[in-house]
């Protein structure tokens, strides 16, 4: 078993989110949901993070930021898109400064629907991402052995 699944540290980035999904993500960290039960810490630092959680769709500026953050995260890593905006642009899909879902910029592993996504769904999303991470961790270990 990979220890990655026991201690997934997250990085949250609000792309062009309306804050709705952001605060739901924050709510996950607070007493009522307390994801630290699963070893989750909101690190706020890409270099420590295992899971990138993005709320909101990408616009001109946040696109570059997302790319930077994703690149600075060490492998194995996973990306969760949270909320309709991050999935597809949601109601802002047609706005002139919006590119759409974040999968246009970085690969997304788990999509959590909702507007706003509920903390429960976000927790479910993390659980699903853990599966992805476990898989990648195994591959990674194998690769290292070969190398």
């Amino acid at each position: 078993m990979s220890f990655l699944t026991k201690s997934p540290w997250i990085l949250h980035y609000a792309a062009t989110s309306c804050n709705g999904c952001d605060i739901e993500l924050l709510a996950c960290l607070t007493p009522l949901y307390d994801v630290e039960r699963f070893g989750i810490i909101n690190t706020g630092n890409p270099k420590h993070a295992d899971i990138l959680m993005v709320t909101g769709s990408v616009n001109e500026e946040s696109r570059k930021v997302l790319e930077n953050l994703y690149e600075q995260m060490p492998d194995p890593k996973a990306v969760i898109a949270i909320g309709a905006c991050a999935l597809s642009g949601g109601i802002f899909r047609e706005a002139y400064n919006v590119y759409g879902g974040i999968d246009q910029v970085i690969p997304v592993d788990v999509y959590v629907a909702g507007c706003a996504a509920r903390p429960e769904s976000i927790i479910d999303g993390v659980v699903r991402a853990l599966g992805v991470l476990e898989e990648r961790s195994k591959n990674r270990v194998r690769q290292r052995k070969v190398a």
Partner: protein
Amino acid sequence: MNLEYWGFALAFIVLGPVVGGLLAGIDRRLTARMQSRQGPPLLQPFYDVLKLFEKDTTVVTHLQTLYLWAFLFFMVIAGVIIFLGGNLLLSLFAMTVSGIFLCLAAESTNSPYSKIGSAREMLLMMAYEPMLIIVPLGFFLVVGSFQVADILAGEPSQVVQLLGVLIGFLFVLTIKLRKSPFDISTSHHGHQELVKGLTTDMSGRDLALVEIGHWYENVILLAWLYLFFGPLGLLWALPIAVVLFFAEVLVDNTNARLKWGTTVKASWWVAVLFGVTNLLVLPFI
């Protein structure tokens, strides 16, 4: 130096991280409960570090790893000195060296958050060094030796004689454990204007080394605390030390983070008012 002490030193090297990790685990759990949260499993710190070993390591400069090795090396030495029953002042110096290498590791990345973090760590060192130096000196005045073994063999009343020093030490312990109100150079839990300060640009194994180093450090600090009560015997001293150690968690949860200026001033005043004063009145107690 007898065999027994060599055993202690060996045990420190091997078991230090285990104890330190457990302390961290209890700390996190306790913190969570104080915040009305369920909190992570007790073994969470170990999961974290084991995970970090699974992760890839990315560096800004390769040399940062070297500095981190030195950080860990000197931290272990500092502990070994204590557990050998050796010279407390020397152990403190070794700890300082280790801290400086941690700063260098952060400085070497040359990214602003790490650098500000390390500058603040240096400021903190500047803040707590005088008080930390006063502790062994206090023991020296009471016991007549810097040797840990002699201090342990001292009179049980030494903690009363050194009460001021103990208070001062507890004060700077908050800094050393990176707890609120003095968690200004990096943040373990909670968020910080410096992101992760010192450790911002470390990842994977590098970060794991830092974590392990901190575990060792925590054990060393616990040992320092233990020394005050050492002559009371293990049965009394260890629980008291552990309780005082975790009292820091309470402090952590009941204070806002202060700024470095306040921290430096406060620690120096504490060192003067409690540390130096205690030593001055020592002949009269």
